[in-house]
Subunit: 82 residues, 2 copies
C-alpha cells in the first residue's frame, strides 16, 4: 500500500521561499504568475498485509507527529495505491 | 487559474532524506513502513484571462527550466482550478 502525505504551510503563514520564486519568475518575464506557494510531500510504502483502516490511522499519526509541524503547517493524506 | 507542479527525484536516483525518515519511523516502532521518498510541490497562481492552453505551456516551461533539475529530477503538472 502506498500513501502520499502533503505538508504545506498554513494559508495564514507567510511563505518567503514561494514569494522569492514568484518574484524571480516575474523577473524572467513570466508576468502572469501572481503567487507561488511551496510544499513538500512524502510517498510512504507499507508492507503487504496491513489493513487499510489501520494503515490510514498509522499514516495520519506519522503525519501529525513526525512529518508536519502543527504550529505552522497542515497536512493531507492521500491513498496512492492499495 | 492554479496549477500544482510536483518535483521528485527520478526513481533511479537515491533519496537519502527519504531513507533517513524511513529508518527513523522504523526506529519509532512503525515497522510496517518499507520505503519513504520525498518530493516537493509548487502551487502556482496565474492572473485571470490567460488561456488555459497557453498557461499550461508556460507552467511546463517553468517546471522544466526553473523548478526541476532535469538531470536528477522529474516533474508533473496538474491543473488545480480553472
Amino acid at each position: 500500500m502506498r500513501f502520499r502525505v502533503f505538508v504545506s504551510l498554513k494559508p495564514t503563514v507567510l511563505d518567503p521561499q514561494g514569494q522569492t520564486i514568484c518574484r524571480a519568475l516575474n523577473g524572467m518575464g513570466h508576468n502572469s504568475i501572481t503567487d507561488v506557494r511551496q510544499g513538500k510531500y512524502f510517498d510512504i510504502s507499507l508492507a503487504e498485509g496491513v489493513a487499510r483502516e489501520q494503515a490510514m490511522r498509522e499514516i495520519e499519526q506519522i503525519a501529525q507527529d513526525v512529518l508536519a509541524n502543527p504550529v505552522i503547517e497542515e497536512y493531507q493524506v492521500e491513498l496512492l495505491e492499495e
